[in-house]
């Protein structure tokens, strides 16, 4: 089942590859159909998922490279479940957003689908070698998406993205090899199996090094300030589908890595580094928001908002409280939906006016009321309006952070004012005011294809805001394991927690 989910998009990419070069419409429709089937499969996984179970489900385990103890082992749990579903959900939207790609649409669609397999691989792998393989594999299609189909400064952005992430990935790879090597006495031979490795206890001094190495990969991917500078360039220069996938899915690979590997494998070190990481997260929340406020480029603004929002996610995760972990995990999905939608809408606007500069717009709410409505709704979900997904996530994160440390909660809460400020201000400068530029008078409103891409995002955002229970119920048990794993070391280290449970 999971193998099918995992490999179908790649198979789809090959299928698109078999279509003759100039049949663009067939390329698009094939890609769309594959993405839809893939989405259906992730929904089937969701349906088969056993709520209330903390461990991995639907595990497939085959020997892969026996010499290294590497196996083809994939599985899903509450942490990865919704990331997988989100990946399935966003891909058809990504294809729809790329309908008008003119430069080699065939290759574009192939890249997009190949990327999907790589991302799913990251979320599904239960073998560290397999994980690293997918982690680095995901770089390649994205590199091409940015570098070949991007905007003016695409090459700079693509190379920067590639090097930054590869750098982190390589350090992590080194750490994995070292870890596996060190663990061999406890696991009885070299193995990359995550489940076996998670019972290994590593001496504190070594844990620290390993944690830092993993941290390098994940912190770049999230990204945490000051490792974020690849992100605005990559997001801004990428084509719309690239930005959506980058923001909604690839940033989550970093946060997911913390949850899946850093905390469970090196809990003691995670505990040790928590204050530093939290500081980076809080700085990111405030800093990302301030820099977003100052952006003249709409896409860059949304990109910096990601820095701010991912700060919330990391804050929640590293608060290591039940609410914080839940909020952080939920916010990962929320951010995928909200920011994905904002990138989609910015892309739609760009297709019409070929400018991303906020100053080139103004008052266009008059000519594109529907687009303005969509944009406003998604901006409101992003600034955590109650009734939308963002509220539940941020509320849980703030509670979780606050019960752990008052100051964390207070600083993050201030970040909420700033996110309201830059989003509403951007909205005002684009859609409100007088329509004083002639070029803007003829912008056309959303087409049916664009409706089709945007409406599901709005519905999911509202659903998650009004009825988050199904999501939290499935995430809960797995997150509780992470929390306990983190807490174990806390007690052995003799530090008491002040966590309040209702």
């Amino acid at each position: 089942m999971l193998s099918l989910v995992l490999w179908l998009p790649l198979a789809g990419a090959i299928l698109v590859g078999l279509v003759p070069r100039d049949r663009h419409s067939i390329h698009r429709w094939t890609a769309f159909a594959v993405a839809m089937v893939s989405f259906g499969l992730t929904l089937a996984v969701l349906a088969r998922f056993n709520t209330g179970e903390a461990g991995y489900q639907m595990v497939e385990d085959r020997t892969w490279i026996p010499a290294f103890g590497a196996s083809y082992k994939i599985g899903i749990d509450g942490i990865s479940l919704f990331l997988v579903v989100l990946t399935g959900f966003l891909m058809p939207i990504g294809v729809l957003a790329s309908w008008k790609v003119e430069r080699n649409p065939k290759l574009f669609m192939m890249m997009l689908l190949a990327l999907q397999t790589a991302i799913l691989g990251v979320f599904l792998s239960l073998d560290l070698l397999l994980f690293v393989l997918f982690w680095d594999a995901a770089l390649v299609p994205m590199y091409f998406l940015i570098g070949y189909w991007g905007y003016e400064r695409r090459v700079y952005a693509a190379v920067k993205f590639f090097l930054y992430t590869l750098f982190g990935g390589v350090i992590m790879f080194v750490a994995i090899i070292a870890f596996v090597f060190l663990a061999r006495t406890q696991t009885g031979g070299i193995t990359f199996d995550l489940e076996k490795l998670s019972h290994v206890s590593v001496a504190f001094g070594t844990q620290r090094w390993l944690f830092v190495a993993f941290f390098a990969a994940f912190a770049i991917k999230v990204p945490l300030v000051p490792l974020h500078t690849w992100l605005p360039d990559a997001h801004t220069e990428a084509p719309t589908a690239g930005s959506i996938v980058l923001a909604a899915l690839m940033l989550k690979m970093g946060a997911y890595g913390f949850l899946r590997f850093s905390i469970p494998l090196f809990p003691h070190a995670a505990r040790e580094f928590t204050p530093a990481i939290i500081v980076l997260a809080l700085v990111g929340i405030i800093y990302g928001a301030i820099v977003a406020t100052m952006q003249a480029d709409l896409k860059r603004l949304v990109a910096y908002s990601s820095v701010s929002h991912l700060g919330f996610v990391i804050l929640g995760i590293f608060a290591l409280t039940t609410q914080g972990l839940q909020g952080g995990s939920l916010q990962m999905i929320n951010h995928g939906v909200s920011t994905g939608a904002l990138f989609l809408l910015v892309g739609i606007l760009y297709e019409r006016r070929h400018t991303r500069l906020i100053a080139d717009y103004g008052g266009i709410g008059r000519v594109v009321p529907v687009m303005a409505g969509f944009f406003l709704i998604m901006a409101l979900t992003s600034l955590a309006l109650p009734g939308t997904n963002g509220f539940v996530g941020e509320f849980l994160i703030l509670v979780g952070a606050f019960v752990r440390n008052r100051v964390w909660g207070v600083v993050a809460a201030v970040g909420m004012i700033l996110s309201a400020l830059y989003l509403l201000w951007a909205y005002q400068r684009v859609f409100h005011g007088s329509l004083d530029k002639r070029e803007n008078e003829t912008i056309s409103d959303m087409t049916p294809r664009e409706w089709l891409a945007a409406v599901p995002l709005v519905l999911v955002a509202l659903l998650m805001g009004v009825w988050p229970k199904p999501f939290l119920d499935r995430m809960g048990p797995s997150l509780e394991l992470v929390r306990q794993r983190g807490a174990q070391t806390i007690t052995t280290a003799g530090v008491t927690t002040s966590e309040a449970q209702p």
């Binding site: 091409f144 570098g147 070949y148 400064r153 695409r154 090459v155 693509a158 190379v159 920067k160 590639f162 090097l163 390589v170 080194v174 090899i177 070292a178 060190l182 090094w209 390993l210 000051p226 500078t229 800093y287 301030i290 820099v291 406020t293 100052m294 409280t321 039940t322 609410q323 008059r366 409101l380 309006l385 109650p386 009734g387 539940v392 509320f395 849980l396 703030l398 606050f402 019960v403 909660g409 207070v410 809460a413 201030v414 909420m416 004012i417 309201a420 400020l421 201000w425 005002q428 409100h432 005011g433 007088s434 329509l435 009825w467 229970k469 119920d473 809960g476 309040a500 449970q501 209702p502």
Partner: protein, 652 residues
């Protein structure tokens, strides 16, 4: 009836979606859905309050809740409703004003842009406020609270083609949001102290002394921050006058029912928390006392009729806050109740005038008495009610507040605070009567000075004025001092008698109000181009400039953050952080190139731009790739892996 009270907020919320979906296809283009929905809510509200009138309220108080989403360790956050006398009174206030405002808007908004959307937003606004009111837990209250905030943003900025209006909307949202942060943190503090969001559970824990005094004080003061923002108290009052940018019916709704009362309601709802901390109560009282006088002074010199009323609202809300601060919860809610009717009436009356005179400035009005008789008569009633002239509604509630404040001075825990509230309240009562008479004279008396051809508004607008006029006369009767089972008992769950009147105080406050009216009417009987108050000299200038608070915020907060902090951050981002990356890349590249070129033959010809420091103008990425750069970097990296792996196993 009480069991189904959840329908009261749900109906207007549903109306919001229905209006958006179907509004444009209906004969009236949308208002009918909202009006039907809020009418049903209103009828249900009447049914509910009927149970609390008389002394049997306690039997009808209900708290029902259901699980919403899991919240760790098997606990769940709840969604639910708490019905008691306070909820019932708020239901009446919100649904009555909302219903009348929506009917009025059919006439007022005729032919305006986004007509259907306007009614949808009114319904959402109403439903949000009702959600806030019905909430049985703080999370749900927060939800209503934030939704109210966003609705005010949407409606204040309704005419967003004008940048100023859009600015006012953002200002309102961000200013109240600034108050929401302490509010949110207050909720967390209370949660950390009580481990619950449920209001009844919090009452209980406070009553049995489960929560430390320090926690309660901190929680109360932080929560009050939210109330300051929403209810436009000093120093977060600055958004409220600017909120006049919205269509006038919205102003009526915001000022009477659906937004600014939220702060007062919050303190009233969590009164046990505040009451447990004299420090917090004193803060509430002093902020209230200061704000009421401060706003009344500014109201005296405004020429825009809506701004007079806006500052009046700030001032009157401060009365309610001050009443809460001296422990007079019933008096505060009573004033909220009466004020809702005459303030809504004043705004709708002002709207009627603006509609006719095509100007907000009272300098363009005058002499409308004959031209707009219904508006004139109802506005006069509201003026008298707000001024506190018996037997109009405002008299009873304002007098109760002053009496309670005086009593708090005599018997309260902090005498001085009670007396301060009383003295400030008494001065404000005088000023209120004065500025209202000034507005009344400038608008309705003398000769018409404008350019338009004013005429009475259509029935759909004057109808609500007449109903509100009637309410402004009678609404106070339910709280006549000495009345058994009067207003106070509805809230207090059980037998409660408004304490007998203090006739001396009544005489004093009537004299003050009457004096203000007489003085106002004498000074402004004949219109003068130069406002007679300019004789106050520099003080007049200070008042006209609203004590320079907006300027202070601009100079001390907005500009430094916008021009310095933000720019500096951006500069660091571009030059330090990104610069470091590019610089490191360039250095790595230069040294790497040297090494690589000597180890290997030259794979690449010519100069290569630093890692993307400048992208090539020509040639796509494929060319770039073929040039071997990426392979080269990858080679460096894998060389690095080997070195690092060796180092790692050595040192780790």
């Amino acid at each position: 009836m009480t069991e189904h009270a959840y329908l009261i907020p749900i109906l207007p919320l549903a109306a919001f979606f229905l209006i958006i979906a179907f509004g444009k296809r209906l004969p009236l283009k949308g208002p009918e859905i909202g009006i039907v929905a809020v009418s049903i809510s209103f009828i249900m509200s009447v049914g509910i309050i009927a149970k609390f009138v008389g002394a049997h309220g306690a039997e009808h108080a209900r708290e029902i809740s259901t699980r919403w989403f899991p919240f760790g360790s098997g606990a769940h956050l709840q969604i639910g409703m708490k019905i008691d006398g306070l909820t019932a009174v708020m239901f009446i206030v919100v649904t009555t004003v909302s219903l009348l405002v929506q009917i009025y808007s059919i006439g007022y908004m005729k032919g305006e842009v986004r007509y259907t959307w306007f009614f949808a937003a009114l319904s959402l606004f109403t439903g949000s406020m009702l959600t806030l009111v019905i909430a049985n837990n703080l999370l749900m209250m927060l939800i209503g609270w934030e939704l109210v905030g966003i609705c005010s943003y949407l409606l204040i900025g309704h005419y967003w083609e004008e940048k100023a209006n859009s600015n006012a909307a953002i200002k309102a949202f961000i200013t109240t949001k600034t108050g929401d942060v302490p509010f949110l943190i207050g909720i967390f503090v209370l949660f950390a102290g009580t481990h619950t969001f449920n209001i009844n559970a919090i009452y209980h824990k406070v009553a049995v002394g489960d929560v430390s005094h320090a926690t309660l004080t901190a929680a109360a003061i932080l929560l009050f921050g939210g109330a300051i923002g929403k209810s436009g108290q000093f120093p977060l009052h600055v958004w409220l006058p600017d909120a006049m940018a919205g269509p006038t019916p919205v102003s009526a709704l915001i000022h009477a029912a659906t937004m600014v009362t939220a702060g007062v309601f919050l303190v009233a709802r969590l009164f046990p928390v505040f009451a447990a901390s004299p420090e917090a109560l004193n803060e509430v009282a002093l902020i209230g006392a200061f704000t009421m006088l401060f706003a009344a002074l500014i109201a005296m010199v405004q020429d825009d009729i809506k701004r007079v009323l806006a500052y009046s609202t700030v001032s009157q809300l401060a009365y309610m806050m001050a009443a809460l601060g001296v422990g007079a919860r019933e008096a505060a809610v009573f004033h909220l109740f009466t004020h809702a009717f005459f303030k809504a009436l004043l705004f709708l009356g002002a709207g009627s005038v603006i509609h006719a005179a095509h100007s907000n400035s009272m300098r363009d009005m005058g002499g409308l008495r004959k031209l707009m008789p219904t508006t004139y008569a109802t506005f006069l009633i509201a003026t008298l009610a707000l001024s506190g002239i018996p037997p109009f509604a405002g008299f009873w509630s304002k007098d109760e507040i002053l009496t309670e404040a005086f009593r708090a001075g005599q018997h309260g825990p902090t005498h001085i605070v009670g007396y301060i509230v009383y003295v400030f309240g008494a001065i404000t009562a005088f000023l209120t009567a004065f500025y209202m008479m000034r507005a009344f004279q400038m608008t309705f008396m003398g000769k018409y000075r404008g350019e338009a051809h004013p005429h009475e508004s259509p029935r759909v607008m004057t109808g609500p004025l007449v109903i509100l006029g009637a309410l402004s006369v009678v609404a106070g009767f339910v709280g006549i001092p000495g009345l058994k089972s009067g207003f106070g008992s509805w809230l207090a769950l059980g037998e409660h008698e408004v304490e007998s009147a203090n006739y001396l105080l009544i005489v004093v406050s009537v004299l003050l109000a009457g004096g203000g009216l007489v003085l106002g009417s004498r000074v402004y009987r004949t219109y003068a181009e130069v406002d007679p108050l300019e004789r106050l000299g520099w003080f007049h200038k200070v008042l006209v400039n609203k004590f320079y608070i907006d300027e202070f915020y601009m100079a001390a907060i907005v500009r430094p953050i916008r021009d310095r902090v933000s720019r500096a951050t951006l500069w660091i981002n571009q030059n330090v952080l990104d610069g470091a990356v590019n610089g490191a890349a360039a250095v790595a590249k230069i040294s790497g190139d040297g090494l690589y070129d000597q180890l290997d033959q030259k794979v690449v010809d010519g100069a290569i731009n630093g890692i993307g420091i400048t992208a090539r103008a020509t040639g796509g990425v494929l060319k770039y790739l073929q040039s071997g750069d990426v392979q080269k970097y990858a080679a460096y990296l894998f060389a690095g892996i080997v070195i690092l792996a060796v180092l790692f196993t050595r040192f780790a």
